[in-house]
Symmetry: C2
């Protein structure tokens, strides 16, 4: 059946462009033999077998992984970005970091106290919070320590290990501005302490301008209640700010005129500077991107067509551009950004690419709507020094060897 074939001048030839496909072109007879056209394969499983809350196929094994010493994490797990699609992270694969384990909290007993410099101090039950107007927003969450093992030399063997502490969900809850407005905030108030009801009693100081901007208390993620490791039944969401500030298992907000300088904000979540001082309160996760496929640990199956795909994001606003280099940074091409492109949200980018089979290094860099451009390691060292821990947002290089093996390299 080859007559009257469309002579479409735009007809693409991904397969002819060196794409290795497993089945060669076959005759109609061979095709019919290849796929069995029997009328039925017999009855399958029923919904009773599968469960009313569905599970994954037994053939799908993607999983979070525990952070290793290389990234210095204790009590956290990383998202398998190399297998991610689109911009939503499944809740079961969302990274999580905790500082004293994940508490099990009965939502019917959970309360949120808001007190301090407000007119009406108040305790809210979860049922109270459900009664307020709700909002849902797609937002990424990134641990400030994402890539902390990469500062001085490349260590992670996959993008899960180098960048797996960022994930993206649609979060639902109540605007913090609405709640604070309900209680009446003292005009001298400039800060808010958020405290979690976990073993670590995680406490972080939140600037009042952020609380009155786009901060929320959230109880749902991707259309269902929060997972325990994401703060069930209630967490703070301060979009674009380092993950640790999005306090989980939230049970107390105290309004004040000064910050608290709590343990976590002045020790673990603080940045060394080249002058041996410490930069505390570096809240925003600045613009960053990474190529998730092809990436370290994968192997290209010979020369030919490959789509380069990855994620860009910015805690300061919206990704306006992602550029990709396939020649070790000598030249850059603008990648396609997949809609919807939303503020403080993962943005999927892609670039068609035909690999010529020669050794090269590929990388990506993001620009956001503040004009900020993702830095190189050299540029980042100038700000923080080469001994940094948090806020590593440098350009990531993947080296492709002649045999197609991909590895994590510095340059």
């Amino acid at each position: 059946m080859t007559k009257n074939t469309t002579k479409n001048p735009t007809r693409r030839h991904f397969m002819q462009a060196g794409m290795a496909t497993s089945a060669a072109l076959l005759s109609g007879t061979a095709i019919a033999q290849e796929i069995t056209l029997e009328p039925s394969r017999g009855a399958g499983q029923t919904v009773m077998d599968m469960g009313y809350y569905g599970k994954r196929s037994e053939y799908v094994k993607d999983a979070r992984m525990k952070g290793d010493r290389g990234t210095g994490l204790i009590g956290g797990s990383l998202t398998p970005l190399q297998h991610g699609q689109g911009m939503v992270t499944p809740s079961g694969l969302h990274f999580e970091v905790h500082h004293s384990g994940v508490p099990v909290i009965d939502p019917s007993e959970h309360k949120l106290l808001i007190h301090g410099m407000v007119e009406d101090e108040k305790i809210f039950t979860m049922e109270d919070l459900f009664r307020f107007p709700k909002e849902s927003h797609f937002r990424f969450l990134e641990c400030a320590g994402n890539g902390m093992g990469e500062w001085t030399s490349p260590r992670g063997q996959t993008v899960q290990q180098t960048h797996g502490l960022t994930s993206c969900s649609q979060w639902t809850g109540v605007s913090l501005k609405v709640l604070l407005n309900e209680l009446g905030v003292n005009t001298d108030a400039k800060w808010l302490l958020a405290e979690g009801d976990d073993g670590a009693r995680m406490t972080r100081s939140i600037p009042m301008w952020k609380a009155l901007d786009d901060a929320m208390v959230v109880y749902a993620q991707n259309g269902e209640f929060l997972r325990a490791e994401q703060g069930f039944p209630l967490r703070l969401l301060v979009p674009g700010f380092e993950g640790n500030m999005n306090v989980k298992w939230l049970h107390r907000l105290e309004v004040s005129d000064k910050p608290w300088w709590t343990h976590h904000e002045v020790t673990e979540y603080a940045d060394p500077r080249p002058d041996d001082k410490i930069r505390a309160y570096s809240f925003e996760m600045e613009a960053r991107s990474v190529i998730t496929s092809p990436s370290a640990g994968m192997k290209l199956n010979g020369p030919g067509f490959y789509e380069i795909s990855g994620l860009g994001w910015s805690g300061s606003g919206t990704v306006t551009k992602v550029e990709v280099s396939t020649d070790n940074g000598n030249t850059w091409k603008k990648a396609n950004l997949e809609a919807p492109v939303l503020p403080k949200c993962h943005t999927r980018f892609s670039l068609p690419w035909t690999w010529d089979g020669k050794e090269t290094t590929i990388m990506s860099r993001t620009t956001d709507d503040t004009g900020y451009i993702q830095p190189t390691y050299e540029q980042m060292y100038k700000l923080q020094g080469p001994i940094g821990m948090m806020h590593n947002n440098a350009i990531q290089n993947w080296h492709i060897a002649q045999d197609g093996e991909i590895t994590n390299v510095r340059s």
Copy 2:
């Protein structure tokens, strides 16, 4: 701490507006006693306890439910829309309908045959398909039979039973246009047969214009591979068309110059007309909406503030307006649409409402960007007659009694 309180003229009083909150305003001392401020509650679970593919909290029980005789479904389950948030349906709660059970398919053995009126007939493995450029889109899927039990009289006791055969996900896969373009389609070809590799050998005729528009073969949903009941490892996606056409476990596409008039498309998925003829090939799911909260089976806890929340969608395009009536259809108010508002995608709407405690009926109606307005049952009967089964998109009424009980009514 009540001095210098913000005298914000826009300060809202949800609580004072009759919102029943469980905790009265307390003094600072009582507040401090109410929330225990001990420094730690002890260590919690670790990631090893929780698993590298996370599970829900034991306190969360939302689940799909089997369709009952009232909706005539066999082998399907409905999404709990009454508990949904935002626009994403968790994959484990996505509705599903199957006609001969859910097959278990090894993805390494799965193949897609494209043959018939094309220049190059071809068999693709999953690995082949992964090599093509990929796209991700948020799209709703709705069974044509969503609400089929409601045609002649209200039967469902919750919105899960009346409207639970619609769900929304971000789907990832390959544009069908790209694949067909690769093979070269005969210019006389006008139809495509899609066949599933299930016990029912589900087959549906797809018009070529749709195949070359926004149709896709998809292998991922919400950032991970498809669930088995959603067609793992491969399904067709024909955005906005009735769910049954989005053939699951897709293994064959045959290109032809005429449709097939298969069993399912001329019997089960066909619409009776008032003149006793049958309207086949009514593909698009037209504009529809429903209030998900408050909805039947819930009870309002006395007069006061309630946010009305629901979903609107249209298989023909983008929702441009949702109107809500809280007085049995006498007056209508424009609801807020939550961003992002995307084509052929669930759109969350909301309207603040203060219930005066009197008996009333609430409802919603959607308008899409073609100008189509969701009909009443009376208007719908004129098109299809009162004995319809499929494509019920009429306005849904919820009756609120003086005691706050909410029930499913016709008018």
